[in-house]
Amino acid sequence: MNVVIAQSDVATAYGWGLDALWNGLLSNRTAIRSTDRFAQRGFLSNQAAIVPGLEVSPQESRALAMLKRLLFPLIGKLDPKTPLILATTVGEIEYVEWAILNHRPDLALQSRPQVLLGRIKHLLGLVGPATVISSACASSAIALARAAAAIRRGDAKKVLVVTCDSISEFVYSGFSTLLSLCDEPARPFDAERSGLTLGEAAAWALLESNDSPDDRAMSILGWGNTTDAVHMTAPDRNARGLSRAIAKACSMAGRTAGEISFIAAHGTATMYSDAMELLAFSAATAAPKPIFSVKGGIGHTLASAGLVQILIAGRAMSLGLVPPTVGLAVPDPAAAAWVHNTPVDLGRAPLALSTSSGFGGVNTAVLLGGAEQS
């Protein structure tokens, strides 16, 4: 059974909608800016990729504010029984901040991801099965895979996947503590890369079965989920976990890695994570393939990162055009044959790989295909 992304939308620091994201990447200008939100805190960086034009009500989380606007066009349009999967790292984490800063411990319970899940159900009028999936920065990629699995299994005809993570003092301070933040916009796969930039994003995708041969939608062909089982925050430097995930995705799809047209990489711009990915890619394919990372443009959007880059991969497949890696100046020698700072016109790009990794050593690879060129 063929599972496709029938509809989708996204909000990133480039703005609202996939066109804004696509055009932002093609402009090769970053949407990462200095922010004064945490100016007094003395963190390692003041760089962030923040969704513009967001109106947040008092005592409302940024995550919910993003989702209310992004999901508005879906209100009343879905079968109320449509299953819902929410992918998030930690839900509405501001409630933990408010609980502690205002000595209101009762507020902390509202940070739990299932509370946000309930709010989305209420917003959309959904009454069907609803699930939260969290798997660090691979959350939305694995949620997409679970949704596709449910449709293939015959458990659902359509599944709505929603993802969101916002920039908060909680998350910003944590990454600063781990010395992960770059003091300039992130430069994935660059020889001089020195860390990630945090970003925020929200996205949704409506998956459904569709075996129509003339369909233009992007298909979810296969996926693989693995764990490094090596380190809590650092990747396996031998890339065994991601290599197995890629192999599993290809095996499920009945394709070989050599057939892949291009790769939407996780590309955080941290030294070891980028190196690990390059090792996995070079082990999987005999010849270099064009790769790109969106994180120099929109930062690392945590749970949302996987779905965001998959939506970009869909646009890239439909146009046969691989976007540039924003922020790339001098490629890391290991990346030189793979990564580009200008668009790569492939003409045809029928098969794409998207990879995600995260804390705890999680890896997800998703093989995408089927988007016809326009």
């Binding site: 007094q40 805190r41 003395g42 963190f43 790292t89 930690v90 839900g91 984490i93 933990v96 901040e97 609980a99 502690i100 800063l101 902390a108 319970l109 940070s111 739990r112 991801p113 299932q114 899940l117 099965p129 609803a130 699930t131 939260v132 999936i133 969290s134 798997s135 660090a136 959350s139 694995i142 699995a149 293939r152 299994r153 003092e169 909680f170 301070s173 944590g174 600063s176 503590t177 781990l178 693989g224 989920n225 693995t226 764990t227 490094d228 089982a229 090596v230 380190h231 809590m232 925050t233 976990g241 197995r244 599993k248 499920m252 804390f359 705890g360 050593g361 999680v362």
Partner: protein, 211 residues
């Protein structure tokens, strides 16, 4: 199919194997590294930094895994799933409270790394060398049977050979060892906390023990 059920709480721990050898004992103090080593049977490198919940989960997962034939049958790819109504709320509060108390400029990395619902699973995966899928699932239907169903789906879908499904909070952890075959999780459909489930399983083992 559920191969084994294990639990660990402050008072007792044990394993229930449907149709097999089940046991339960008083719990050792997990503040003593030697006690956790005896239970897990492997070195636990980052033991001092692990939260109480992580220690409970590690013990429960170790016992469940040891009660299965999986490792003996060629080290199949085993995944990890966890659920729980609070996710990592306690760890989130601990991190941010400490950060605020320290002047809001620098947090503690050893606390921050536990602020994901899958953080505990990361530790378990490292110690037990589990390389399959690893994720937190909160299903609105809540009961342990839903977690068992999700775990079984990973096997049926061909994403793992077997899954360990953990249901935990700061007071107790229970673990289901699930592989292919039929769905036999209906007996886990009560809405109970991890500590209540631990009590249920203890009672089950005691009732089946020879007089």
């Amino acid at each position: 199919m559920i191969r084994a059920v294990s639990w660990f709480c402050a008072d007792h721990h044990g394993v229930f194997v449907p149709g097999g050898r089940s046991w339960q004992k008083p719990s050792p103090k997990l503040s003593v590294a030697a006690d956790i080593l005896a239970l897990v049977g492997r070195p636990v490198n980052y033991y001092p930094r692990m939260t109480t919940e992580a220690r409970h989960c590690l013990c429960a997962a170790s016992m469940a895994l040891a009660a299965t034939p999986w490792r003996a049958s060629g080290n199949p790819e085993i995944g990890l799933l966890c659920g729980g109504s609070d996710g990592c709320l306690a760890a989130n509060q601990e991190y941010f409270r400490d950060y605020v108390a320290s002047g809001r400029s620098l947090g503690r990395g050893n606390l921050f790394i536990y602020t994901l619902p899958t953080s505990v699973l990361g530790e378990v995966a490292i110690v037990l060398s589990l390389a399959g899928p690893c994720l937190f699932i909160h299903d609105e239907t809540r009961p342990l049977s839903a977690l068992a169903r999700h775990a079984r789906e990973f096997v049926v879908d061909g994403e793992a050979n077997a899954m360990l499904a953990l249901w935990s909070d700061t007071s107790a952890a229970v673990c289901l060892a699930v592989d292919g075959g039929g769905d036999d999780s209906a007996w886990l459909s009560k809405e109970l906390s991890p500590l209540q489930w631990a009590g249920e399983f203890q009672g089950l083992v005691q009732s089946r023990a020879p007089a």
